[in-house]
């Protein structure tokens, strides 16, 4: 087989080959095809590459394991030679702006000069965005090319509340970043994009005052005439100066005139008040709160999806209040009809208590006649043993009260003659108690049988009366089941479950001028971005976008305008690892406001790393160490490898990972959950070293628990490091691969390449790696 049949990857194994770097410089409306030589790439069709490239340096890839930066920038040095219609390449910058243009660098490996390929097999090794040219001379100039995300650092489509868009926006919200929401997020603070003027009373007013003075500090001017609202009362006015309403008509719009206190809010009454939930359509809007109090009426929620948009606020998720969002400042009581109390082992400190039940239901009977007479409340009627059966049985049930101290059962009973007879009571089919031989009674008598606490231990709800077998065939009568007395408590220990039902009406009384306040903070529970009808991001049409790989893909494609074809295969691979455990829920600008930092931070929070690799975006889940993709031997090493250890200062052995961000709070209190773990061995070896991590995109305890265990593994110990210089076969490593080394020591280590630095001039590759934590 001729060498020309080898693939580009296979050619890396050769000890010789020629390589050429081919540069596609995508200027606005013009693509230049350049190289460090004039080269005709013939692969069926022909593309000419022209010699304008002096040098490319810094062709490195930073694969740092945790919180790694994106790829380095590379520096291209161009010949400032004539090109097209200009005498110097730099002059093209006037026609086709270099800055922010895209450069793609391909590598082609040749086994013979003038090789003609059957297809286009050149390999994309770098894709980046140009900065401004510099170092410009007649001979040359340089251009730094940065990775796409570095160049797009400030390209996240974050917008602030702007009166140019929302003229009536609340001044308190103007300038705040509008929400971009992913996943399920509770209490998303809304922005008041259509709000009226607001002020406060400077003095108390009576219920008939027609001139009302306010502080004049409103940031939106009150109109000359209109309607205001103070507490629950609406008031029309015919004049407004800087701080005074005149010509007031109290109790407007069917409200009631009342006195108001100084400091009460004075708000302009509008036909609608609009609160923006997110600057984009969302999947769903759930509970709405005003100052933390859930609202059930008075507003309409619009997701912003097609068919669910508010006119004038299309493509936005908004809440429309037709009246001011007001809450009553009072204790919020939500009566619950049924209260279930689950008791565990407990110790009662009260005296004994008893419960008497005389309404035991007769469940069944056998061997007796007229059993219903036993529970008919008539002491004169009776049930009687038929004398033919082995025993006469009455079976009762009663409410189960759990473990009791004792149970006492009383019955009215007689035997018809003097023969000895035993009346027994069986508790829960296990414990039997007899009346003792009665020797007969001419008249009925009350018999009491008492079970002890031990005997009652198995009591559930079932007991029976029975007459033991008497060969004489005499008739025994039970006139009445009187009651059961259950004794419990009194310092004994017991356990059980009981249901308690509470009923009644809660009535709130009292009133004050401060009871009614105008809501300041409107929040809502949101399901954020949803997939499109084709399931572009999740595979499921209209699904909530919350799995990490789906979220990052959506940010890259929908927010940053990258092509879906530039999303690497590792996204899908990592997605299977995220499964259902890992899902995000966050407001975007609360995680990061720069694109590259956002993507890195999100990757970090799903135990992954995000990078650009060979022109594509990759998201690599850091699970267990993959098998080494390449084992280097002494034949491969161009220099002696150098080993080391990660810095001891980075060791952490007690990790607290805060999660479930509460956007109503700030600072250290802004999280509702924490997952923690520690490593006793590391603490013993290194002393306790604590790390407090904020998982600002995580709202799930199970996810945080998994994450914190992973993070502890990364930082609880020092790990070995390696620096090795290899020839071009080092390029066989791919993002997410590990390599191993056949050496005098450290042979079994799986090395995670953290930096691959390519010297394209000499085709040497410097590998910096760290032991894969395990």
């Amino acid at each position: 087989m001729g060498l020309s049949a080898l693939t580009q990857a296979e050619r890396l194994e050769l000890v010789f080959f020629a390589r050429v770097y081919l540069l596609h410089w995508e200027l606005p409306s013009k693509t230049l095809y350049l190289s460090d030589r004039n080269f005709k790439h013939d692969y069926g069709s022909v593309q000419d590459y022209e010699n304008y490239l002096f040098d490319l340096s810094g062709l490195a890839v930073d694969l740092a394991r945790i919180r790694g930066g994106l790829n380095h920038k590379i520096t291209l040095t161009f010949r400032n030679d004539p090109i097209l219609a200009v005498d110097h390449l730099i002059e093209l910058n006037g026609t086709y702006r270099f800055c922010f243009s895209t450069v793609k660098i391909y590598e082609l490996r040749l086994v013979e000069s003038g090789e003609i390929f059957a297809s286009d097999v050149k390999e994309l090794v770098f894709r980046g965005v140009c900065g401004q040219p510099y170092g410009i001379t007649r001979k040359s100039f340089r251009v730094d090319v940065q990775n796409v995300m570095l160049a797009k650092r400030d390209r996240l489509p974050l917008q602030v509340v702007d009166t140019a868009v929302d003229a009536d926006a609340d001044p308190d919200d103007v300038g705040r970043i509008r929400n971009t929401v992913y996943g399920t997020v509770g209490h998303v603070p809304c922005r008041a994009v259509a709000a009226g003027a607001k002020d406060t009373l400077t003095a108390d007013i009576d219920d008939d005052d027609v001139t009302i003075t306010v502080s004049g500090e409103t940031k939106i001017a009150f109109p000359g005439t209109g309607t205001i609202q103070i507490d629950d009362e609406q008031i029309t006015y015919t004049g407004f100066t800087a701080n005074q309403f005149t010509g007031c008509t109290r109790a407007a719009n069917a409200t009631t005139a009342v006195a108001h206190n100084a400091g009460a809010g004075v708000c302009e009454v509008l036909s609608e008040y609009i609160y923006e939930v997110a600057q984009h359509p969302v999947k769903a809007l759930d509970a709405v709160y005003v100052d933390g109090v859930r609202q059930t009426a008075g507003f309409t929620a619009y997701t912003g999806q097609t068919g669910d948009e508010l006119a004038g606020y299309e493509d936005r998720a908004v809440l429309e209040f037709t009246v001011l969002p007001i809450i009553k400042k009072q204790i919020q009581v939500d009566p619950v009809d049924n209260i279930v109390v689950n008791e565990t082992a407990h110790q009662h400190s009260t005296s004994d208590a008893t419960a008497t039940d005389s309404s035991g239901a007769l469940q069944s009977s056998s061997g007796v006649t007229d059993p219903s007479n036993v529970v008919d409340g008539n002491d004169a009627t009776y049930g009687v043993w038929d004398g033919a059966s082995d025993e006469g049985v009455y079976r009762f049930s009663n409410a189960n009260l759990g473990t009791l101290n004792y149970v006492r059962i009383r019955i009215k009973f007689t035997s018809a003659n003097l023969y000895g007879v035993n009346l027994g009571v069986m508790c829960n089919s296990t414990t039997t108690k007899f009346t003792g031989t009665t020797n007969g009674h001419g008249t009925s008598t009350t018999v009491t049988l008492t079970f002890t606490a031990a005997e009652g231990a198995a009591w559930t709800s079932d007991f029976k009366l029975f007459f033991v077998y008497d060969p004489s065939g005499q008739v025994y009568r039970v006139y009445e089941f009187i009651d059961c007395v259950f004794n419990y408590g009194g310092g004994d220990t017991g356990s059980g479950v009981a249901s308690v039902t509470k009923s009644g009406t809660v009535t709130l009384v009292g009133n004050s001028s401060a009871d009614t306040v105008i809501g300041q903070l409107v929040t809502v529970d949101v399901d954020g971005y949803q997939d499109d009808g084709g399931g572009t991001y999740t595979g499921t049409p209209a699904a909530l976008i919350e799995r990490p790989d789906h979220v990052l893909k959506h940010i890259l494609v929908a927010l940053l305008g990258e092509s879906a074809s530039d999303i690497g295969a590792s996204f899908a691979t990592s997605g299977t690892s995220y499964s259902t455990t890992y899902k995000f829920g966050f407001i975007l600008h609360e995680v990061a406001r720069e694109a590259d930092r956002l993507l890195q931070e999100l990757a970090f929070q799903c135990r992954s790393k995000f990078l650009e690799w060979k022109g594509k975006f990759e998201l690599i889940y850091l699970g267990s160490a993959p098998a080494a993709a390449k084992t280097f031997t002494e034949d491969d090493l161009l220099d002696e490898p150098v080993f080391g250890y990660t810095p001891e200062i980075d060791i952490r052995n007690r990790i607290y990972a805060k999660h479930s961000r509460d956007y109503r709070k700030s600072g250290a209190d802004a999280y509702d959950g924490v997952a923690s773990t520690s490593d006793a061995t590391s603490i013993s070896n290194n002393g306790e070293r604590m790390a407090e991590i904020e998982l600002s995109a995580c709202r799930d305890g199970a996810m945080a628990a998994d994450w914190v265990a992973w993070y502890l593994l990364q930082v609880k110990n020092e790990w070995r490091t390696i620096e090795a210089m290899v020839p071009w076969i080092g390029k066989a490593l791919d993002a997410g691969d590990t390599f191993s080394l056949t050496w005098d020591f450290f042979n079994a280590v799986a090395w995670d390449p953290e930096n691959i630095e390519i010297d394209p001039m000499h085709e040497r590759i410097r590998l910096l790696g760290q032991e894969w934590p395990a």
Binding site: E50, A85, D636, L638, E763
Partner: protein, 245 residues
Amino acid sequence: MGGISLLYKNILEAGTVTATNENSDYPKWRLHDRDIGKLFKGTGTADHTIHVDCGAAVEVDTLIIPAGHNLTGGAQLDWEHSPDDAAWTDMATAWAGAAGLISKEAGASQDKQYWRLVLTSLAAIPEIPELFIGLKLDLADVIAWGYQDGPQGNVERVEALSGRPHFLQQGEDREFRSYQIKIQDSTTRDTIAAFLAESRHKPFYLKDLDGTWRFMSLVDPNIGPFGRPSLNRYDLQIDMLEVLP
């Protein structure tokens, strides 16, 4: 010892060049930029004429088009000159293009102001890396000795710790030539001086001992000097390295 020839001046560089068809991405100045890898391209397969107005009569005897062109498949080349830009005379009989370097040496030089190359019967949109037209300098009698060295590689060799070598070919092999020239009179001295003055910073064409034209450059551009013109008797060694596309 046989002779060599040098073609180091291109009338296109000093003249005014026009082309009837020109792809603006591959403009006509590439016909004379001494970069044999950058192509001039025409548009379409209709006849193309590359026209040069030298401003005054210039003596010419040689035309070279280096490899990399596509004037094949029946394409006809017609090299003509004119004293007045009206009446044109063939410099050589029109001929069919073939792959590789095209050279045409006229039997006798012509001293004309206007020159043109007419391309007809084109099979493809014409691509020409360079059009070199000028008067060659023959050095048949002044070569003391010389040799055609073998090709020189441009290969980097690195060795692993074990001694296993790896080879990285940075470019194609390049021919190397070394000739010693006897200078025994002022005419030769001035001729060589003119060549060196032009070629210290530009590649040029060398017609080798075997008659092959190669695109070469001086290995040492600081060759010379000619500090003792009164004697005019000394030898000069010229080392040349092939220039690749």
